[in-house]
Amino acid sequence: MHKFANPAKFNRLADIILPWIIGLTVLAFASGLYYALWDSPADYQQGESVRMMYVHVPAAWSSMFIYLFIAVASFVALIWRHPLALLAGKAAAPIGATFTALALITGSLWGKPMWGTYWQWDGRMTSVLVMFFLYLGYIALWEAMEDDEKAGRAASILALVGVVNLPIIKFSVEWWNTLHQSASVMRMDGPAMPTEMLKPLLILGIAYQLYFAVVVLWRMKLEINQRKIDVMRRIAMSDEG
């Protein structure tokens, strides 16, 4: 039925690719962390706490990237009924939710020395929080239904509705903030960043995405194997009569 979606073929392909990406991931993390922790300057205002950025910003990037990944997977799953695309979305969601949580937690830990408070109802923070809720909804919908195929397609509809809404939510939340609060917001896009800081940031950004690729492949293999077991059980049961 789905010639291009052969799970066994996918498993074999994943096994070939995985060692290479794992190697690249280790390399990227090692060099990125070296630059981030030792070979980059402390900020003249923020001091050493600026190094929080190297954990925080790539996590925030990943949270958005993975949401987009899920949306594309959902689209493919709904239009072409591609079973592996459903699994890709399912496998990616907890990783995305974790990165979003990481971005929120590191952000608030960074915020304490910076602004003197753990949480601000700032537009950017609030919209990331909302994205975290969308991730939770997607995961919960997968969990709520017994039939995986149905659960996956329902969750895919939600993911697509969410992707339409996400820019609106982000836009409205940022607008709301400027209306209600004085802008006490640190902005990344203000002064250009020195290259010694930009280099580790970008390397770690890539490292995070590579890490995502590794884990999502692992999780997809896991899902495929679970289905294999499930199918074997069913066949064994029907042979029993």
């Binding site: 909302v130 939770l136 919960a140 709520a144 509809i157 939600l158 609106i168 209306l179």
Partner: protein, 228 residues
């Protein structure tokens, strides 16, 4: 079967049936309205009776509670029909499932949300809303609340086959409600602080229109899934 088919008549029939059901025994109309009244009156107990504080939060309280009342009633929007089998009949109607979803959303708004809007000024009075803001409270609810029914219907359709899906539905729908809430309250706040509420109302209308474009299709897709 050469008779021309009146889809408008089917649409009207579904709307009338659902409004009727919402206000008969076991319907959600009275429930949502009572919830709205009681929940709003809880706030003075929670934050104290100082009129300035109440006046400041009045718009937000009314909008948030209206949103929650809507959410409570959406739980049964498709589930009742799913459980008794009439969703099969609705799906087989010549109107098509998208039209049916839209008819049911329309009925939900008329039967459940409109009464809330009617009593909202009364509750605003209890919360001491500044006098210039009343018409904008009603206007913002009229323009924005269709988005609540529309977006909520997506959540209701997605969770229709889930037992006790109400909690799950809140998790899915509440994040989507945020823009409506922000612009709705923004319009009333602007009016009560001598600002210009029109940009907020325009954005609120845009959110409702966009929801109108998405929701009937997404809800119909989710319902079709539930019927399989």
């Amino acid at each position: 079967m050469t008779k021309p088919l009146s889809t408008a008549a089917i649409f009207k029939g579904v709307v009338a049936r659902d409004i009727r059901l919402a206000w008969s025994q076991g319907g959600t109309g009275t429930m949502a309205l009572s919830f709205f009244l009681i929940a709003v009156t809880l706030f003075p107990f929670g934050v104290g009776p100082e009129t300035e504080i109440l006046a400041r939060i009045a718009a937000g309280v009314i909008w948030v509670v209206a949103l929650l009342a809507c959410l409570l009633s959406l739980d049964r929007l498709f589930q009742a029909d799913y459980e008794d089998g009439s969703l099969d009949d609705l799906a087989l109607s010549p109107l098509g499932l998208v039209g049916i979803a839209f008819a049911k959303i329309t009925a939900h708004w008329c039967a459940t949300i409109l009464p809330l809007i009617v009593v909202a000024p009364l509750l605003a009075l209890l919360l001491n809303l500044p006098s210039g803001a009343y018409q904008f409270l009603v206007l913002s609810l009229l323009i924005g609340s269709p988005a609540l029914s529309l977006l909520g219907a997506i959540g209701a359709a997605l969770t229709v086959s889930v037992r006790r899906g109400g909690v799950l539905m809140s998790l899915l729908v509440l994040p989507l409600y945020i823009p409506t809430l922000i612009f709705g309250v923004g319009a009333v706040d602007a009016a009560s602080m001598m600002g210009n509420p029109l940009p907020h109302l325009a954005l609120l209308g845009a959110v409702s229109l966009l929801s109108l474009l998405i929701a009937p299709f997404a809800a119909a897709g989710a319902l079709r899934l539930a019927l399989e």
